[in-house]
């Protein structure tokens, strides 16, 4: 038997952090040195897309502008993801500190936390922690953080839709380019990072890039916080080293009857049992923003897919054709096949459609519907038909 590659890490939630001390130490370095540390660590965005964080900071810092912003994306809306909530609840000052480091590097005077509408109950404690943080660091840096509430639309987690929402407009993704590093919030250069990314950036400042780089694989450095749910006896939040195989993950978290794991939420991929061994969790394999949903053999994968499609049909912003109409057609299409109103071969038509959505949708939402759709339909075809 192979050694289980799964390693629990305790970097984020562990130990009280003397944020001020770490910030003092960090601020004594030059901006270039800080960016180089983050680059050197290999940290990639933890929201799912995996863009190198150091590069994002570098591009924003280099963009000529009279004003720049740092925004913490706390619109944690991916089904099955609940780790940012835990981070904001347990170690908010690390999030603020990560934002402060970024602010110094890019020259931002204002930062915003865009908080998921459903997390409103976190607001009083979060604001209290923020007030304390502002008091603690006001002599260190001219930087203020504001918390802005979202209103519950999934699409507002997409960075450019988030900017629109923050500007008081309808939350619809923008055309890219320009990217946020050039024209983000209020069309100013903006760093927008996931909650977890900012905390890791801060941890890198505290421990140095090597401590982070030692972990994980060449494509997926470091550790990551996972939200484990579904048919598992130990659902919860776990910080694990990246690069583990799904087989080892299931050994640890499964209930012994695991049929499939949905990696990365509704926008992610469904991996069937036969592919557990070969599947690496990380950017070289199947990436995830943190959601790991375990399904055992009692589950109907048709129902799982239908549930995702219902979600997408409602949460598409509706502006672009492939996503708005495509989601409706995928859902009506699998229903029709299941009911026998359409022949099984119609699934091929739908797979082509999902490919069009991946290729031609305006933003990541429409582009990623195909992930769950094709992975479920291809791997559990008989369940779609009978």
């Amino acid at each position: 038997m192979t050694v289980n590659t799964l390693k629990r890490i305790d970097l984020i939630f562990h130990e009280d952090c003397e944020c001020r001390q770490v910030l003092e130490k960090t601020f004594s370095k030059s901006n270039d040195d800080i960016i180089n540390d983050v680059l050197e660590s290999g940290l990639k965005g933890r929201g799912g897309a995996g863009f190198p964080t150091g590069l994002k900071w570098k591009f924003t810092a280099e963009q000529p502008a009279d004003e720049r912003f740092v925004i913490c994306n706390a619109d944690e809306g991916e089904p099955g993801t609940f780790k940012d909530r835990e981070i904001l609840f347990k170690v908010p000052s690390k999030v603020f500190s990560g934002m402060a480091v970024c602010a110094k590097v890019i020259g931002a005077k204002k930062g915003y936390i865009y908080l998921r509408g459903e997390y409103r109950y976190l607001l009083p404690e979060l604001q209290k922690a923020l007030d304390t943080f502002h008091r603690d660091i006001k002599d260190l840096i001219d930087f203020e953080i504001f918390i802005q509430m979202g209103s519950g639309a999934y699409i507002c987690g997409e960075e450019s839709a988030l900017f629109e929402s923050m500007e008081g407009k309808r939350g619809e993704p923008r055309n890219k380019p320009p990217y946020p590093t050039v024209a983000g919030f209020k069309n100013k250069p903006t760093v927008i990072n996931n909650v977890e990314t900012l905390v890791y950036a801060f941890m890198i400042c505290k421990h140095g890039p090597l401590r982070f780089k030692e972990m994980g694989t060449s494509d997926s450095r470091g550790s990551k916080v996972f939200s484990v749910s579904g048919d598992t006896p130990i659902a919860g939040i776990y910080e694990l080293e990246l690069g583990m195989s799904l087989e080892h993950f299931v050994e640890e978290f499964g209930d012994g009857d695991t049929k499939a794991v949905q990696v990365g939420g509704a926008a992610g991929f469904c991996v069937p049992r036969k592919k557990f061994k070969e599947t690496i969790i990380g950017f070289e394999g199947v990436p995830t923003g943190g959601s790991m949903k375990v399904f055992n053999s009692s589950r109907s994968m048709y129902n799982v897919l239908h549930n995702y499609l219902e979600f997408f049909e409602e949460e598409s912003c509706g502006q672009c054709t492939p996503c708005r109409v495509g989601c409706q057609q995928l859902m009506k299409g699998v229903e029709a096949v299941k009911k026998g109103e359409k022949k099984a071969v119609y699934l091929e038509q739908l797979l082509k459609l999902s490919d069009t959505m991946k290729m031609a949708s305006k933003c990541g939402l429409g582009q990623s519907v195909a992930n769950s759709f094709s992975s479920i339909v291809n791997n559990f075809r008989e369940e779609m038909i009978y």
């Binding site: 639309a153 699409i155 309808r170 619809e172 055309n175 380019p177 997408f312 049909e313 409602e314 949460e315 598409s316 912003c317 509706g318 502006q319 672009c320 054709t321 492939p322 708005r324 109409v325 495509g326 989601c327 409706q328 057609q329 009506k332 299409g333 029709a336 038509q349 082509k352 459609l353 490919d355 069009t356 991946k358 290729m359 031609a360 949708s361 305006k362 582009q367």
Partner: protein, 597 residues
């Protein structure tokens, strides 16, 4: 000088300026990429996705309308991936669209239909018909605009038009996902919201989702009735655009052929709104001079300056909603259409000895707001509905086609009399700056006894497509009666498009500007770009129509309103003088505040 970017489109080397899009580059070399949400007049949306193309090395296809070119791009506009995605997207749009084409007002003039035809979407539809699953509604409460959600493809051209060009934002996006739709405040009818009925959304709607309420059948019915005397008036801007709907290039002046067509259709009298445009100048010009006199000589604090034109019904509804505190600054003159209507059932009826009860008054307008205007309670001063039916230029084209006329082969004929005489000053009402120019030609002459000091009477600074044109005219050498204006500088501003109108009004409101006279036309370019004009519209087409208008002006033997012999006659025989009691009764009105919500 912008940097040049080198790229390849379908293997052909192209050089374009930095900042241009892939779509621009493709058009430069005559490569056709289909579009739906794209419109030259509007900001880029990139949401229909039919213009996607493949850029070698890119992870996904890109929307060519939204993607800026960069050096070394290798673009394919018709690759396997592109074709497959494009066909899928067209089918998706069709699955959500009530494709009852033969029953559609826009049949054969629909961009979605064209695209479906281009891609031969025939036979069994690729996807499930979603139309029966949606609670689509038709909003037909407005006398001007009908909105049919079942035809909507959510391209948001209308939303962008209403917001960017007009700053009205009567239309917006509501809901998300499968329920996303184009709607109004609280989903009220277009009739009950801030909509100005300008119809610019209709001009840019690619499908039959936004159309004018058409009165073609009602007008035919009136023509067929023996006991009815049907008079028709034609607005200045119709004669430079009608040809576009009948197979001619933009910029043709078709006045004579239009008159011939109307006569063959069977109108009893074919008359000209130009006549009442000249009358408007007499009334409005006198009103302006009177206001100036009251303000400068009598020091009357109740006089409202600046005075604003009142010809454009879209502008009237806009000011009622948005700047009601400035309603008294509007000229009390009715629009030329409504002046004509009031006179058709009084002066004309009397002269021709016809019972006004039996007169049906029809107008051909470049405008959809005119339909709403004709329905206003203020517009019944003849004792009847002054204008019974308003047809757009497009609707006239429909009638001409239905009548089986070969438009281009028609001879040029003259308007009937009375109320058919026109001047160059009246014709230019159709372009932005035209009312201003016509008013100045007359007012300057009244005050100084001399013609305006511009070569050939062409007051070029008020012409053209600049959104806001500020022009100051110095008055010198006045006749004794108007000597109080000696040396005065008449400050004027001309704006077109309600976004520019709003900007001007905000300047007035803040005290930043001290204009005397404001000309505002609700539509881009003035009436030549009106919401009732042939589709499509863009800057190039509007410029061609404008050139045609000024060509018509230059060729007129009479180019000043006060010299229109029929205008001189009506004052002599019927009205007395400008601003007389009779004028006030028939030709002037007041408007009331409307709530924004």
């Amino acid at each position: 000088m912008a940097k040049n970017i080198s790229l390849k489109i379908n293997g052909v080397d192209v050089k374009v300026e930095e900042g241009k899009t892939i779509l621009d580059a493709a058009r430069n070399i005559n490569v056709h990429i289909p579009t739906l949400c794209y419109h030259e007049d509007l900001c880029v949306a990139g949401n229909c996705r039919v213009c996607v193309v493949e850029v070698t090395g890119a992870r996904a296809l890109v929307a060519s309308c939204a993607m800026p070119v960069s050096d070394g791009m290798d673009i394919h506009t018709n690759s396997l991936k592109v074709r497959s995605a494009r066909k899928n997207i067209i089918e998706l749009l069709l699955s959500e669209h009530n494709a009852d084409c033969t029953q559609c007002y826009k049949n054969k003039s629909c961009e979605l239909q064209d695209l479906a035809s281009e891609y031969k979407n025939t036979g069994e539809p690729m996807f499930i018909d979603l139309v029966p699953l949606k609670n689509y509604t038709i909003d037909n409460f407005s006398p001007s605009i009908i909105k049919d959600d079942s035809k909507c493809i959510r391209c948001q051209r209308c939303v962008r038009t209403c917001e960017e060009l007009q700053h009205v934002s009567a239309l917006g996006v509501a809901y998300k996902g499968d329920k996303m739709k184009i709607s109004t405040f609280f989903e009220n009818s277009m009739y009950d919201v801030v909509c100005t009925n300008c119809g610019q959304c209709i001009n840019r709607c690619p499908t039959g989702s936004l159309i004018e309420r058409n009165y073609v059948d009602e007008v035919w019915d009136a023509i067929y009735k023996d006991n009815k005397h049907v008079v028709v008036q034609t607005a200045p801007a119709t004669r430079v655009a009608l040809g576009e709907d009948l197979g001619l290039e933009a910029g043709h002046v078709v006045t004579g052929k239009m008159v011939a067509a109307l006569k063959r259709i069977g109108f009893d009298s074919v008359l000209d709104t130009d006549f009442s445009a000249d009358l408007t100048i007499m009334e409005e010009g006198t009103e302006l001079l009177t206001r100036l006199k009251k303000a400068l000589v009598d020091k009357d604090p109740t006089v409202k300056l600046p005075m604003a034109t009142s010809c454009s019904p879209g502008w009237i509804k806009f000011i009622e909603h948005t700047f009601p505190e400035y309603l008294d600054n509007l000229s009390t003159c009715k629009s030329p259409q409504q002046m004509f209507g009031a006179l058709a059932k009084t002066y004309y009826a009397k002269k021709r000895n016809i019972d006004p009860e039996n007169i049906v008054s029809v107008s051909i307008m470049p405008c959809t707001a005119k339909k709403f205007e004709a329905d206003r309670p203020e517009m019944r001063s003849s004792g009847h509905k002054d204008v019974d039916y308003v047809l757009t230029t497009r609707e006239l084209a429909i009638m001409i086609k239905q009548a089986g006329l070969d438009f281009d082969a028609l001879p040029e004929e003259n308007y009937d009399s009375i109320m058919g005489e026109s001047t160059g000053a009246a014709v230019i009402f159709g372009a932005t700056g035209g009312v201003m120019e016509a008013a100045l030609r007359t007012a300057y002459e009244i005050v100084t006894g001399r013609e305006v000091p511009f070569e050939n009477l062409n007051i070029t600074p008020v012409r053209g497509m600049n959104g806001i044109k500020e022009v100051t005219v110095k008055i010198e050498g006045t006749v004794p009666e108007w000597s109080f204006l000696e040396g005065a500088e008449l400050k004027t501003v001309t704006a077109h498009g309600l976004t520019n109108a709003k900007y001007v009004m905000e300047k007035v409101k803040s005290g930043e500007a001290d204009y005397h006279f404001i000309e505002i036309m609700a539509c881009p370019g003035g009436c030549i770009g009106g919401g009732g004009q042939p589709i499509p519209t863009n800057m190039e087409i509007r410029k061609k129509r404008t050139e045609a208008i000024y060509l018509e002006d230059a060729g007129k033997p009479i180019r000043k309103s006060h010299e229109n012999p029929e205008v001189v006659a009506i004052y002599k025989e019927f009205l007395g003088e400008p601003l007389s009691h009779k004028s006030h009764e028939l030709l002037h009105t007041h408007y009331k505040e409307r709530k924004r919500y």
